[in-house]
Symmetry: C2
Amino acid sequence: MKRLRRRELFGSIGIAAASFVLSSCLNKQAAVSRKEQRPRVPWPYARLDPEYIAEKVYYSTYRKGCMHNVFKSIVSELADVIGEPYRFFPFDMMSYGSGGISGWGGPCGSLNGAAAVICLFAKENRVSMALSSELLAWYERTALPIYIPKEMEPQMEIPAVVSNSILCHVSVSNWCRVSGHKVGSKQQDQRCERLTADIAKKTVELLNSSFDGEFTAGEYLNEEVRECMSCHAKGGKGENTKGKMYCGSCHFSLATEHPPLEAKRL
Amino acid sequence: MKRLRRRELFGSIGIAAASFVLSSCLNKQAAVSRKEQRPRVPWPYARLDPEYIAEKVYYSTYRKGCMHNVFKSIVSELADVIGEPYRFFPFDMMSYGSGGISGWGGPCGSLNGAAAVICLFAKENRVSMALSSELLAWYERTALPIYIPKEMEPQMEIPAVVSNSILCHVSVSNWCRVSGHKVGSKQQDQRCERLTADIAKKTVELLNSSFDGEFTAGEYLNEEVRECMSCHAKGGKGENTKGKMYCGSCHFSLATEHPPLEAKRL
């Protein structure tokens, strides 16, 4: 268990903002030769209201997909609070993550956008990784969506399901299987819209917690993953894989694929 | 088969660059009220040399991971060719993608970075999706790495293996299984460094091809995925999943999991 201090996580808002304002009026020649005046990562962060961000995401009119929605809803909010350098970010670039990168079913686009948000504000890579891992583990193991829109249609009751995966394909498939709703249905679209609000809210909660010096990195590998990786990861007997995702979301049956283990694992 | 024309894909370099230079000297108040002067997506693109980019990526000293390396190597190159607005991008944000997002084994970080690069330059979402899908399908089905460094140590012969997946976890596992090398070994590190050069090169080839009006979107779903999705995707009998990844990379054995299909599929 490790507590990350505020000073380790966030840069100075004043210095970064002043540096940017100064640099914005330089001509190209001068700017290229003064690389230190670029608006460097971490960009300044200020506490945001998680509930407000969830609402903003759910009622967003961006219509450029879940990754874009999470990223722009949080980062553009800082433009109103702090000002520069947020104006210059090419937000529409983040639309690529929808449906797990151009519909391929890879990572949940909201998580991909949230991890980018975290990395933009975290001072060091190890802090970004700890916060992202906390978010990904929460997503993998929590029955979602939690968010309920204020103006909910009575007939749109959306079951909360544990996805057991950070991948769009697996997450959507599990939700369809458990809920009985079809892929591409109004219900499944609604489930993903609420999920996006949940992820944005959780991201802001994590950032606020770090900003306040309260974030404590937990154990995000569950017991099964730890057991598998004790053999398969670097330093183990197998030494043939890497990752932190829940193994059982793809390795459905160890009985037909794996050398004998103790009975409880089969 | 659909040909995407140059005018559909890329914005005007002149207009975008001039717009940015103008906006960079406005004060904050004026800038906020003139949103149209933001450096909008698509950012200007100019033909790059794929071989040069592969070298740049392989010999990079960034050391912030594969996603960051691919993204910064390509995008920063445009800063030298075109100038603004590239100076303002917070490149270090892209370090979050390493190891499939903070080491979780999700999407290959180089692909995640490449998809962002493509989306930054593509004029429309459908063009970005077509180019990204071409890249992802190529990665999934091509024996990689192809790139051989000029100063190769003779003992570092790195086998080329088809990953059958866009995911870091699966891609690395398959490579370790076929090559016999361990995860985290000097060979596996070298394999990923070369792979990163390959992906950056392919990305630039695709962008150049589109820039020249030569890109032709192919059929990126292979026969097996089309067969599975004809039932499982929206509009099919099952209607319970989404995605374009090769099904067999996780659904190892239909015999134990699936209702009977014709013999050849079991």
